[in-house]
Point group: D2
Chain length 132, copies 4
């Protein structure tokens, strides 16, 4: 964690590659989500635990820019950089970098909010620590 | 296919739901991709066939707005509306609508390009029919 | 539903294919699970509803024989044939058949049980209707 | 690698959990496949490389015994123990163990064969090293 940027190293698994021999587009969202949840854990928050306590954090929007394709065997870093979007919304700038060359593979902007039992957005104070 | 908008009906499968009991965020990209490939098929183009012929179409960017969550058992429609982004890029406006209420669940904008064997973008004429 | 054999027609989606250009091994379990849940629905039982009511049905064992590979675009039928394994266990003979040729692609035997909140197996009477 | 048993440590990712809050049945096959491919790599064989060279190794059968469920955050070990099934078939005994307690979560027996371009089984000598 340097300058409030969390980093998590992963490697491509072969079942994540599609018939083009590269990681399928939808799988990058799995990587990004996993890195965000690792970031939560780093901040001593568990996503499963939050869910059990009724704190439902949902993705409101996702913007993904696919720059280069990950392939079988590639190791890569996923970064997580939280920021406040608005009173109720928490954003995450995320990047995927090739582990060996540090070439930028994907840039993403994920916006989330918490919703209560009626599906109404609210801001649970438990998330404050993410921005510290 | 009304007004150049292709539509494809699907239903949520239980293994697509995560611990929150709703369809996981990344799965929507699977739905969107599947609908685009069904649209290709409707235009007598097969994605697997294009890939075998060396016409590699890749996603350049994806913008997804998650408005409401799909749940176990929900039937839904995925729309595909192609448009020209630039000389080399083909875009797809896509929406996911609840089958029963036609409520908008997700809006997306997917931009694609074809790349040659060296990874350089180009425009294969085979794709012309998609805009007709 | 003929002779107590439930059948459900599906088609391969391109994101289910791996770098060999065929449906990845693990995806067949998704197909089999989806067909079992459609069978439940046909019997007016919903898997999500059972789960919400605390009736947790889990897979105890799965035997899968892969005979032929499904490929991009293939339509196929998944069968579900329930049978009593023991007092506490419910089994499902399942097959996947190519829709056009009715060639057998996969044979499977799935054994399930319900577990209570403490993880102990039990037999909920709600499942009786599956064998009728 | 002790006594010809290869071991690979992984951890559950939240998107692998389903609405029951546990890892979905089909995901275990992903874990098993990934560990086998890591074992290949350990033996200096790459699955993607084999595929590119036309050596198509396919799963013939899979037997999975689900003993305990993995949950969000669980770390676990996947073992790979190769053995000769017949002239043409290579088998893998595999186990999934909880990393902390070493409790057995899943036992599996995976049988594979290589097929040539016509889909006929054969035994490529490249695989000899797996049994050494």
């Amino acid at each position: 964690m340097i300058d409030n940027v969390f980093k998590c190293r992963l490697a491509v698994r072969d079942y994540e590659c599609d018939m083009q021999g590269v990681v399928n587009n939808s799988v990058y969202q799995n990587y990004l989500e996993h890195a965000r949840h690792e970031f939560l854990k780093h901040k001593r928050l568990g996503f499963a635990d939050l869910t059990r306590r009724g704190i439902i954090v949902v993705v409101v929007s996702a913007e993904l820019n696919y720059l280069r394709s990950l392939r079988s065997g590639d190791a890569f870093d996923v970064t997580v950089e939280p920021f406040k979007v608005s009173t109720l919304r928490l954003g995450f700038k995320q990047r995927i970098l090739c582990a060996s060359s540090q070439a930028l593979m994907l840039k993403a902007l994920i916006v989330t909010t918490a919703v209560n039992e009626k599906g109404r957005p609210y801001y649970p104070q438990e998330l404050d620590c993410l921005l510290e």
